[in-house]
Amino acid sequence: MARASHLLDSSLDSADGFTDPHGAGAGGPSADTVTPGQALDVETTYLKGHGTFLEDGQLLSSVAGTVYRVNKLVSVKAIHARYSGEIGDVVVGRIMEVGSNRWCVDISARQSAILLLSSVNLPTGIHRRSDETDEAKMRSYFREGDVLSCEVQGFYQDGAIALHTRSLKYGKLADGVMVAVPSALVKRLKSHFVVLDHGVSMILGLNGYVWISRTPSAQEQKAQAHLFAGHHNFYDAPGSTPTAAPKAAEAVAGADEPLDPHAVREQIVRVRNCILGLVERKVMLTDQLIAAVSRTARSLPAKQLLDPDVMDTVILETREQLQQHDE
Amino acid sequence: MSSTAPSNAETAFIRTAAAQGLRLDGRAPTAFRPLKFHFASTPGAVEVHLGAADAAAGNSTKVQAVVSAELGRPAILAPNEGVLAIALELAPDFSAAQASVHRNEEEASVSRLLERALRRSGAVDLESLSVIAGEVAWHVRIDIRVLDAGGNILDAACVAALAALLHFRRPDVGVEHTPSTDFLPSAGAAADAATAALAASGGPSVRVYGPDERPPVPLTMHHLPVCVTFAFFNDGHDVVLDPTRGEEIAASPATPDSMAFVLNANGELCALRKDGGCAMDLKRVLQCGRLAALKAADLTKAIKDAVARCEQAMLSATKARAAAKGTNDASVVAVENPVVLEE
């Protein structure tokens, strides 16, 4: 890590240059890093957010991390803090337990999240009441270990997160690899379904689980939408990968040509190694940054990115490119 | 309150009362409950009753301590010393409201501190318990049974253990260097493997004298370390001494909020326990320490007085028995010495 520190600019005097600071709901990291017990600079009126507490009328930080200010809300985010969740967040989760009418899903939160049978789209139509047959077949929809994309629907009283997959874009994930990164290093974006170059897509779960996979072809997309409309059992269909948002898929559909599966796989690996490399250097992840770094890395064999020195060079090069681009 | 845990309303009441310097049993915040000793006729057995008057409210603590000794091999690491063992047991019906997990934790935490107070502080002179260096030594065992858990088990157990140790008499022993042919264990405790083996090997043999041959001897005590426990309410703002069960629960909404000092009459601190709970200034800790020292002196005096009075009573009882021996009166005289510790 020490090696990287001279290379990367650790000062946080401004929002990083990759996203629009006024982007949807995104509070850019503001000036400072604070440590537990440190008093926070606040104006006369403020809202107390995560990672802060009040003592004798003073707002103090309870964690070591970066201060975020969104309007009046002041919060501090630590790099390794567990995912706390907000309604509407896109997350990637893993089924830990199959219950009688619910799945327990690991989304790196402080408790297992709950996905109710009534919160998933059942085969043969979107608006259908679940019945006993569905309960009996729960394991055929999602079984232990399965990775899925879903959305935060709400919270239970004890703080557990409720999830739902009631949208075409959510569901079981296949044909790819999952990377777990600290949730605090995933920046809130307009869309967390990202289509990268060279046939690779990624779901940048706000909980820090990232799913990297092959972008399904336009045909596959269509076939899937078709399935979903209810002729077959969607969940048992082979290659059912609702990985990217339909809109995004349409965007690439035009340029869609059959790609060499080996090349796609290598690009998936590159993206994976780039994400790990960035996270190890405590860099905040955005879709554009990952895209830029993996583009720079494209000239290298994927395994070379395991070498920290190579990774440093790649990041440095990307930085120069981005700076030039800025000017 | 004896079998059920106090309700939230009750604990809240205890806390608000404490804020005004009041306690449910009318004590001052820095007062101990009345302390009573009941000595059994056998030496080394004592029952200590803390707050007997308030038993109906479930706020009395009753602890029994029994000291016994037998001959055995000394520990390898300390060949010239005897062995002191402490065993604590909470009676099975102890505070039925408490979950068994909690009970194990409490048992462990109390026995850990007793260990520090009585063993590691060197209260009992272990060297004097050695009979033949490296071969035979007395194994002294203190069995402590909590019969009634009405709060502050620790202090009560410590007092009971000390009183029992002072009250205890072990048989006198003699070492005979010639192989004894008439090896006769005269006390039950002596019929043990170590001495037998030793006698068989032709080494020096140990002779245990019966109470009629030589008077039993007391243990040599270096000092009397007594324990004084404080409980804190309202984030350390209010403090009480010798908390009752209800107060203990009120003081520990989440984690036990108490502090214990183990001190002797010389003002030496032998152990100190403050694990978590409310955070407090050093000044506060020192204040508590000074108060604990005062209380420790009182407690030590109470223990000594009680033992002394009991011994006197025993002496006169023995005399009386000797006088009445002809009539073969086997009735045992149980002495009850209520000693009330003044505030």
């Binding site: 600019d9 537990p36 390794h80 | 850990r112 601190l269 100190l272 978590g276 709970g277 800790v285």
Partner: protein, 244 residues
Amino acid sequence: MRREIVSPEGFRQDGRRPEELRRSHFRTSLFQQVDGSAYVEQGNTQCLVTVSGPREPQMRSKSLPDRAVVTVEYAVAPFSAGERKGPLRTNRAHTEVAASLQATFEAAIMTTLFPRSEIMICVQMVQLDGSALATAINAVSLAIIDAGIPVTDYVTACSAGYIGSDPVLDLNYLEESAGMPQLTLALLPRTRKIVTMAMEQKLHLDHLEPTAEMCEEGCLQMYQQMNAYIASASKLATLITPSA
């Protein structure tokens, strides 16, 4: 043949002054699989701590409806001390340290923010050279902060002994085994309030104050060092310099 703890010139055997701490090193975020981890070296005492959670409790029956459960495992490596000790499953001394650590950190962690979850702290003493409890507390403190678990303050700890008529700070193994009284104190440095105190051997009540005051100073010094480390370790990196 007992050598002097403090020489007439005012130096200890390892060359320190009585009020001097040993040199310490800190590292955090050592492992991927846990939420937080820390390695603390104080002199030759080395301690490794990992923190998992707040997470779904492994035993659901142990969860509490109003706050997180803190569990502490304390282990000592077989090669950590002069004499090799086989791993003991249940060691009373270890249970005592674990209980003390648990109570200490329950007081500092804002457990009520995480009902029905569990925070598991695993302490591994890699090498023992005195002041083990204090080192463990400092390491747990860093690991908890590394895990991003909200606390009201750091908990920093330090030990001090009392010899002759003066206290000495941060005892090493040699000094510890000389049989002098030793006080370990865990402090919330911001408010200078004491969370945990533990003592070995007899100490006269009159000497408690100077010894505890020295401990307090030591804790504050530890805080300075730990806080400086955390401040630098928790900075995020940016890839681009501000475009003016």
